[in-house]
C-alpha cells in the first residue's frame, strides 16, 4: 500500500478516474470501446513524443525541437516514398535523421555548452525551415498507399490493432525497462539530479546527455513516420505546438523540469488525460470560443490533483512513521 501511495503517477491515475468518471455521466457515448479507441488512436504519436521528452527531462534537459523534428521526418518519409523507395528503407532513413538531429542537439548542449532551451529552439527553427524549403509552401502529396495507411493507423493490421498502437506499446516497454533496469537508466536519473556529483563519480555525463537527446530524436522520428501516414499529406506547418503538449504530458505524468524525475507510464497517462480533454470538449459540444478556457481548467485540475496526492501521501507516510516510533 505504501509503495503504491509513493508512486508519483498516482495523481494522474486519480485525475483520469475523476475526469473520466464525470465524462461518463455527462456524455453517454464516452464510456464506449469505440470512443476510447477513437481518441486513443489520435494520441499514440503524441505519446511517443511525450516518452522521448520524459527521457530528456529525466536527464535534466528539455527538447523543444521535438515537434519540428517530427514534421521533418514526416517530410522525409513523404519525399522518399514519392521517389519509390521501399518502406523499410524509408523508415530507416527517417529514424536516422531523427537520431542525427538528436545527436546535434546533444552536442550543442554539451560540447558547445548552449542552454538547452536555446539549442533545441534553434534546432526547431532549422528543422521547420528545411521542411519549408522542401515543400515550397505546398503540402507534399501523392505518396499514400495501403502500407502508409496502416502505418498511420488509418487502417488496422489485425482487427482492432494498429501500427501506432503497437509502436507506442513497444517503445513504452523498451524505454520503461531501460530506465528501471539498465545502468544507463540509473545514470540518466543521477545526471538529472546532480550533474556535478555524477561527473565527479567518473560517469561520462556528456555521453549520457547526448544519448538522451538521441532517444528523443528517434521518438520524434517514429512519431513523424506515423504522422505521415495519418495526415496523408505533409504540409510545411505540420506539428506546430506538439512540443508543448509533450512537455505537459510528461510533467503531468510526474517528470520535473529540474531533472532527475519522470516515468514513462506517467507520460502515457498524461497524454491520455490531454487527449481525453479534447475528446470531452468535442462530445460535449463546448462552443469553440470556450475551448481554451476549458483546457486551461483541466490542466490546472491535473496539477492540483497531483499536488493533493503528494501532500496526502506525505501525511499518510508521516503518520505511519510516527506510529512506528
Amino acid at each position: 500500500m505504501k509503495k503504491f501511495l509513493s508512486d508519483p503517477i498516482l495523481g494522474v491515475i486519480i485525475l483520469l478516474l475523476l475526469v473520466g468518471g464525470v465524462a461518463s455521466f455527462t456524455v453517454d457515448v464516452f464510456f464506449t470501446l469505440q470512443n476510447f479507441t477513437n481518441f486513443l488512436s489520435g494520441s499514440y504519436f503524441v505519446m511517443l513524443l511525450a516518452m522521448g521528452m520524459t527521457v530528456v527531462l529525466i536527464s535534466g534537459g528539455i527538447d523543444l525541437s521535438i515537434g519540428a523534428v517530427m514534421a521533418l521526418c514526416a517530410g522525409i518519409v513523404a519525399k522518399l516514398a514519392l521517389q519509390g523507395m521501399s518502406v523499410p528503407l524509408v523508415i530507416v532513413c527517417a529514424l536516422a535523421v531523427g537520431a542525427f538531429v538528436g545527436c546535434l542537439n546533444g552536442l550543442l548542449v554539451t560540447v558547445v555548452g548552449l542552454p538547452d532551451f536555446i539549442a533545441t529552439l534553434a534546432m526547431s527553427a532549422f528543422a521547420t525551415g528545411i521542411l519549408f524549403i522542401w515543400t515550397k509552401g505546398t503540402p507534399i502529396v501523392g505518396y499514400m498507399d495501403e502500407t502508409y495507411k496502416q502505418i498511420g493507423g488509418l487502417a488496422p493490421i489485425y482487427r482492432g490493432v494498429t501500427v501506432p498502437m503497437v509502436t507506442a506499446i513497444v517503445i513504452a516497454f523498451a524505454l520503461g525497462a531501460m530506465l528501471k533496469k539498465t545502468k544507463f537508466g540509473v545514470h540518466l536519473f543521477s545526471v538529472g539530479s546532480n550533474r556535478l556529483a555524477t561527473r565527479q563519480s567518473g560517469i561520462n555525463v556528456t555521453k549520457i546527455r547526448i544519448l538522451a537527446y538521441v532517444i528523443s530524436g528517434v521518438c520524434a522520428a517514429l512519431s513523424g513516420i506515423i504522422m505521415a501516414g495519418r495526415n496523408t499529406t505533409v504540409p510545411p506547418d505540420l506539428g506546430g505546438g506538439y512540443e508543448v503538449l509533450a512537455i505537459a504530458a510528461a510533467l503531468i505524468g510526474g517528470a520535473s523540469l529540474m531533472g532527475g524525475r519522470g516515468r514513462i507510464l506517467g507520460a502515457i497517462l498524461g497524454e491520455v488525460v490531454l487527449a481525453m480533454t479534447i475528446n470531452i470538449i468535442n462530445l460535449l459540444g463546448v462552443p469553440s470560443s470556450y475551448q481554451k478556457i476549458f483546457i486551461g481548467g483541466i490542466l490546472l485540475l491535473a496539477v492540483l490533483v497531483n499536488q493533493f496526492v503528494i501532500s496526502l501521501r506525505t501525511k499518510i507516510l508521516m503518520r505511519s512513521t510516527n506510529k512506528k516510533s
Binding site: 477513437n38 489520435g42 495526415n231 510545411p236 470560443s289
Partner: protein, 382 residues
C-alpha cells in the same frame, strides 16, 4: 418545289450551325474569360497589336515593385501567387513591364496578423509601388496602415479578405471607409458557406442531419462561412445541424473532431468542413469508422472549401464529395490586372471585386482541376 425544300433545309442548317457555334463559343468564352486580359481581350478575334504598342510606350520599360503579404505560407497562397506571376508574365511580354516581387509571410501563428504590420511598414519604407495583403489582423488596424502607406504613395490591395464583416455602405462614400484601393475576394458567406449548404440540401433533397467542423474560434473566415452555411440550412425545415467541433483548419485536428462527432452521431448524412484540409480529415474519419462515402444515393456527404489540387484528386477518388473552389488563381490574376489598370493606365477600379466561386464535384472536377494545374505548370517565377 425541290429547290424550295433545298433552300429551306439549307437555311435551317445554317441557322442551326450558327446557334451551335454561338453556344459553344460563349461557353468557351465563359471559361476563357478567366484567362483573358479584361482590358483588351486576347481572343483570336481582336487584333491587339496597336493597343499593346501604345501601352508599351506608356510603360516605357519601367519597373514596378510589388509586395505580397499573405497570412501564412500555404498551398492556397502559392496558387494565388502563381496566378499573379502568370499575369505578370503576360504583361511583361506584351508591354515590357519589369517586375520586382517580394513575398513576406509569417511562418506560423497565421491568425495573429501582427507580423504583417511590420512587413507592410517595410514595403512602404522600401518605396514599393503596390502591396497585396491578406491578413487576419483587425480591419481598423490594417486600414490605418494602408492610410499611412497611401500617404507615402504606396497602393494597397486586399485579397481573400473578410471586409464583408466591417464593410460600410457606399451610399454616400465611394470608398466605403476603406483606404485600400480595391478588395479582391469572394463573399465568404454567400459564395462559400451558403453554396456548400445548398449543395448538401440539393443532394439530400432537403432532409438530413449535418455536422460541422469549424475553423478556430475567433477567425473571421470561420465566422462568415458559418453564417452563410446556417442561413441556407435554416431555409430547409428537414435539414438539421446536430453538432459542431473545432478543427483548427488543419487536417489532423479535423480528423479528431470528426471522429469524435461521428461517435456521438453515427447516423449523420453530411459533414461540412470549413476548409478543405479539415474536410479531408473528416473523410479519413469516415473511413476509420467504416462508414460509407456519398455515392449519389446514400452514405455521408463530405464537403469542404478552398479549391486545392489535392482536394480535387480526392474528389475524383470519391473520398471527398465536393468542395467550394474559391478561385485562388483567379484572385492572383485579378490582383495584378486591377493594379495595372489603376496604377499604370489610370483607370478607376471597383472597390470590391468578387471572383466567381463554384462547387466542384465529380461532375465538373475535370474543368477546374485542369485549370489550376495549368496555372501551376507554367514555371513562371519572380
Amino acid at each position: 418545289m425541290k429547290s424550295t425544300i433545298k433552300t429551306k433545309t439549307l437555311v435551317l442548317a445554317v441557322i442551326a450551325s450558327l446557334v451551335t457555334l454561338t453556344m459553344t463559343g460563349s461557353a468557351a468564352n465563359a471559361i476563357g474569360t478567366l484567362k483573358q486580359d479584361a482590358l483588351t481581350g486576347t481572343s483570336a478575334t481582336v487584333d491587339t497589336a496597336a493597343t499593346d504598342a501604345a501601352i508599351r510606350k506608356l510603360v516605357n520599360g519601367r519597373t514596378i515593385k510589388l509586395g505580397f503579404a499573405p497570412p501564412i505560407l500555404s498551398e492556397a497562397y502559392t496558387i494565388a501567387q502563381q496566378g499573379a506571376w502568370n499575369q505578370m508574365k503576360d504583361y511583361e511580354t506584351r508591354y515590357g513591364v519589369k517586375w520586382v516581387w517580394t513575398e513576406e509571410a509569417p511562418l506560423n501563428n497565421a491568425h495573429s496578423g501582427v507580423e504583417t504590420t511590420g512587413f507592410i511598414q517595410n514595403y512602404v519604407a522600401k518605396k514599393y509601388d503596390a502591396v497585396f495583403v491578406c491578413s487576419a489582423a483587425p480591419a481598423t488596424v490594417m486600414q490605418q496602415l494602408y492610410k499611412q502607406g497611401s500617404a507615402k504613395g504606396v497602393e494597397f490591395y486586399q485579397f481573400n479578405s473578410t471586409e464583408q464583416l466591417n464593410q460600410k455602405s457606399q451610399a454616400t462614400d465611394a470608398t466605403a471607409g476603406l483606404s485600400s484601393v480595391s478588395n479582391i475576394s469572394y463573399d465568404n458567406r454567400w459564395q462559400s458557406g451558403a453554396l456548400a449548404a445548398q449543395y448538401i440540401a440539393d443532394e439530400l433533397k432537403g432532409k438530413g442531419e449535418i455536422i460541422m467542423i469549424l475553423g478556430p474560434a475567433g477567425s473571421d473566415w470561420t465566422k462568415l462561412r458559418e453564417q452563410g452555411f446556417r442561413a441556407v440550412v435554416k431555409k430547409y425545415p428537414g435539414l438539421k445541424i446536430v453538432g459542431a467541433a473545432d478543427g483548427g483548419y488543419v487536417r489532423d485536428k479535423g480528423l479528431t473532431a470528426a471522429a469524435d462527432l461521428l461517435t456521438k452521431y453515427p447516423k449523420i448524412n453530411a459533414i461540412y468542413g470549413e476548409n478543405e484540409d479539415m474536410a479531408l480529415g473528416a473523410s479519413a474519419a469516415i473511413d476509420a469508422a467504416r462508414l460509407k462515402h456519398w455515392d449519389g444515393k446514400s452514405g455521408i456527404i463530405t464537403i469542404g472549401a478552398d479549391g486545392l489540387v489535392s482536394g480535387m484528386d480526392e474528389i475524383r477518388k470519391g473520398n471527398l464529395t465536393a468542395t467550394v473552389n474559391v478561385g485562388y488563381a483567379d484572385m492572383g490574376r485579378t490582383m495584378i490586372r486591377t493594379m495595372f489598370a489603376h496604377k499604370v493606365l489610370g483607370m478607376d477600379v471597383a472597390k470590391f471585386i468578387r471572383v466567381p466561386t463554384v462547387i466542384v464535384d465529380k461532375t465538373n472536377v475535370d474543368i477546374f482541376q485542369s485549370q489550376i494545374k495549368a496555372e501551376l505548370a507554367t514555371k513562371v517565377k519572380y
